[in-house]
Symmetry: D2
Subunit: 345 residues, 4 copies
Amino acid sequence: MAAAPAKTRVAIVGATGYTAYELCRILLWHPHVEITVATTRQEDEPVLSEIHPSLRHLLDLNCTVLDPADLAQKADVVFTCLPHTASMAVIPTLLSEGLKVIDLSADYRLTDPEVYETWYGHVHTDPTRLGVVSYGLPELYRDRIKGQSLIANPGCYTSTSILGLAPLLAARKIEPKGICIDGKSGVSGAGRSPKMNTLYPECNESVSPYSVGNHRHTPEIDQVLTEISQQSVETIFTPHLIPMDRGLMCSIYARPTGACTQQELLTIMREFYAKEPFIRVIDALPRTRDVADTNFCDMTVRVSRGIVQVFSCLDNLIKGASGVAVQNFNLICGYEETLGLLPQK
Amino acid sequence: MAAAPAKTRVAIVGATGYTAYELCRILLWHPHVEITVATTRQEDEPVLSEIHPSLRHLLDLNCTVLDPADLAQKADVVFTCLPHTASMAVIPTLLSEGLKVIDLSADYRLTDPEVYETWYGHVHTDPTRLGVVSYGLPELYRDRIKGQSLIANPGCYTSTSILGLAPLLAARKIEPKGICIDGKSGVSGAGRSPKMNTLYPECNESVSPYSVGNHRHTPEIDQVLTEISQQSVETIFTPHLIPMDRGLMCSIYARPTGACTQQELLTIMREFYAKEPFIRVIDALPRTRDVADTNFCDMTVRVSRGIVQVFSCLDNLIKGASGVAVQNFNLICGYEETLGLLPQK
Amino acid sequence: MAAAPAKTRVAIVGATGYTAYELCRILLWHPHVEITVATTRQEDEPVLSEIHPSLRHLLDLNCTVLDPADLAQKADVVFTCLPHTASMAVIPTLLSEGLKVIDLSADYRLTDPEVYETWYGHVHTDPTRLGVVSYGLPELYRDRIKGQSLIANPGCYTSTSILGLAPLLAARKIEPKGICIDGKSGVSGAGRSPKMNTLYPECNESVSPYSVGNHRHTPEIDQVLTEISQQSVETIFTPHLIPMDRGLMCSIYARPTGACTQQELLTIMREFYAKEPFIRVIDALPRTRDVADTNFCDMTVRVSRGIVQVFSCLDNLIKGASGVAVQNFNLICGYEETLGLLPQK
Amino acid sequence: MAAAPAKTRVAIVGATGYTAYELCRILLWHPHVEITVATTRQEDEPVLSEIHPSLRHLLDLNCTVLDPADLAQKADVVFTCLPHTASMAVIPTLLSEGLKVIDLSADYRLTDPEVYETWYGHVHTDPTRLGVVSYGLPELYRDRIKGQSLIANPGCYTSTSILGLAPLLAARKIEPKGICIDGKSGVSGAGRSPKMNTLYPECNESVSPYSVGNHRHTPEIDQVLTEISQQSVETIFTPHLIPMDRGLMCSIYARPTGACTQQELLTIMREFYAKEPFIRVIDALPRTRDVADTNFCDMTVRVSRGIVQVFSCLDNLIKGASGVAVQNFNLICGYEETLGLLPQK
């Protein structure tokens, strides 16, 4: 394999949101990255650090309106931080311009265009790529990701759930149906567009479930777990909004397939992730605070009264979005996977 | 039955904590209550409004050290807001002095002294009263509570769980075993004693499970639900601490006993509580914000992929502690149950 | 004076915001009030408790679109919770229909239409009422409020600042110019309309000044303090947004007119408010937490290195808006001023 | 000057608190640092990552009890994160062992032992070093810091205030007396020891002033500003606790010495810090959110009605403590000052 380039030029498409901001924050520390383009739909070409004032003095780049041909002159890899449907409208062009793309939207995550249409309410306009695109969860699909030109970066609840469940499902230790995932997410997961339900006085001092029975991460969770464990997995995914900026905890309830001990399951989990730099299987109960601002996913397992409980948590903006996107970036560019995400000593 | 007295004198024993404060706040608006005594272990007899500055100008009472005989001269009803074991050490004396007692601790909630010893790690010193004392959940035990002299006021997670599950268990619509209760509580539930894990910078911006598999509200939930549904109920109760002051949500996962629809279960729930002033069975998904500072318990039910989900929430300090204590107070004194808790129009 | 009516019918015009909600919550406990009308601009006439789910079972009223003639049939007193300019567009008609009006907007607070135009950017369309309307701060203008048909309910920063400064300015103990008011408010003060800067992830974990040098409460503060102290008062008002729902603290810095002691100033403050039920002059430093959900304004004074410091705080939605509106309501209707706001024992 | 060493071994003395944690987090990314020792007073030698679970997999070091001679074998530079008085008890020994020390306590910040005794209530036990030790604010004292063996790392409110005021005082644009500093700090500034007033339910949803007229950062602010501006500076410093983890804003009110415009003052400020990598003088009003988790201090200036207002903010744990400590570390070791704190591209 050829050596990775000394410098890779990166474009952020859709630079106004929280995941784009986190990407910038991470990539600024990456020794081989230069951010050369940031795009928005705003015609007045605002300075990026006006949109994200934390970036002042660090990244004083003017945002431009997306122009794929121009972008292909200025960048090698593109992170698309667009709403679903907007991503698939532009990605085919970006690819045909020779760019590599890491897509943070949901557009290329599902393998079946009909499932996409059912859950997202839109016909998929680039259906031939579905099922071909690599799903960007390196802990499960590292080899498929390396060297690809388009990566479907996973959802935040999805990664938390899948990473927590994969070892026990792969080992056939829990039943694949009736798995209840109780998700709890900070508000940044809802994005930066003004909506009444994410106003401070609406979600502060409150916890509430939402999208019960119909959250779009459900088919994504099931699809990946089904593939990884080679059996039909069906989860009941129930997200809750809780009053914090960032952090996501999935408390998962499953029935064991047979007699099992906590220690045995913990060992399975630990061995499954033995070589993974970003998975910390711990004895203690995890707290989202301990993974905040990191690319770690912390998890543990308990057995209570015949029920297996997995607790898995991560930072929804980092390991749940922009951090894993940088893992994918490193993999497709041939860099050490942890660059920009862990101290390199 | 004799008419309720025009004025009832009330003592708060253990007045420094959050539940004692909420009691004061509620009772100040109760037309038939005069708070005459507040006790603490502090020898310097602080003014109550120095401990709870919100009460300035409203309740400028000097706290005293508990003296049962003196207290019997000055009060008719006592609310004991003491830690477990401290309650059972004093309640027999208070009762023998002729006082009525509503105990907010856990000491009289369980019916079996061995279960108490197992979960609380102390021998029960007043075991003959266990199983005789009325459990103070008026929605289930109103008739047993009326006129009693000692009430075991229920725990906050307990009431949220029991109220949410009782209709479906009583109707035999869900399996009595393997019920998973995912609890999420504000930090005030952990009390007012300084501890590192409830410092602001430890629990802000974080969510974490705790006491998994061994939280003391577990046997209380099971005991009451077993009795109310006449079958052996076993729950897996998993509490989480979330960054807010007050509010408690239980998201409950159960398997149906047979085919059922969401609408059918909602109707059962609604009919079960048709006459209850403090239970609001709603179509929408509940938010703890909407029950904060009220004595309401909001709940609904969903059926997702063959799993029954109940969402039940309340204010842990009010309906979960001091509000239900005032319901019990009204019942044992012969007042209208909603006095002090709902506008009387 | 005639006896106050046993029942007063109340309309809330502009019922979707936070101040309207707090009004409902307070008025539900008022023994002489019946809320008969709630209006919104929404044509589909939503149930009020869908907009404010806390009100379920308490106030299940259908909202209507404002119709002054119809409203005059159904209500006696109107609370207008409208944005500025919208209030003055409708209030003349409401008054001509014989209704009494308490206006929570800023439209009738300033006495000079040119000042209004300068600060609000709109020509005042009802200028002849300016300067005639009573300013609804009962602690200063109780006698002018009684029996009036239109009251200009004060702003939240305004009341906090004025109440804190009035005693010392009236006693000529501090210089009337160069008074620096550092205001700190919870986010509910910014209203319930979706805006990016009040999204949870924008204002959580952050403090920032805003509207420095041009906040619209400035002329209102100066106008009232000038009148009350009979000298030209000029303040530098600097608001800050802090991450909490409700609560407002003004930390005020002023130069003394001559030698003075802290104790002397505290005595002046205490005597000024000796008979006021809602002002608590305290020795300790106040916390907004202690006035939350109450109609109290807590304050104290310090002298540090030749500078006089006043700390004044209240709940921005209650004493800063809807609670003082109920004080005004009681005064114009002839009820006891504290009804609905303090326990009546 | 000799080249800086390729690797410097670092010890953290007093490793359980928040500033120690932030030091670890920063130093892990420093290319020339190896953390070799962490000490606590706990005899059981806990693993550091049990105390700070975020550090799991990153720094799995066993804490030891402080032994200066042993420490001198294992480390080159020591960061002392001890309470005041504990620092001066150990630092002379550390220095005599040949170690370099950056002291995060207040023990060596003041130049006059009597002032220390007055404000800290203890006799200073190492008085001959006072006034000799370099004060570790690199923006003002860079040349004095380089190559030193003991640095007094500044307080958080202190740095925020001094950095905001130094340009205008040095240029004689504001009066040196009567400067009012209204400080607003997140709760992590109060440390990690359990105290009732920093419990989540006590400081959440509340803002309050504290230590008015007697906060220990006052003499430190005055001392440094007096020296830097060569005139006797006297500030009125008034801190407030606000409900957030981290972030510190000082809103400062001063009288101009003569006519001045906002633009003129902004230019003075900008030129004063023209070469400073960590000071961002901005046109907009700053937010603490934009400096959170960074070593930046953001500031601006306004003139309102004849009063000069400076708004200066930083992250209290980083630029206010551990970040500036790393600047000092780099300076005394001969590394590039921004190493570990800014991306090096």
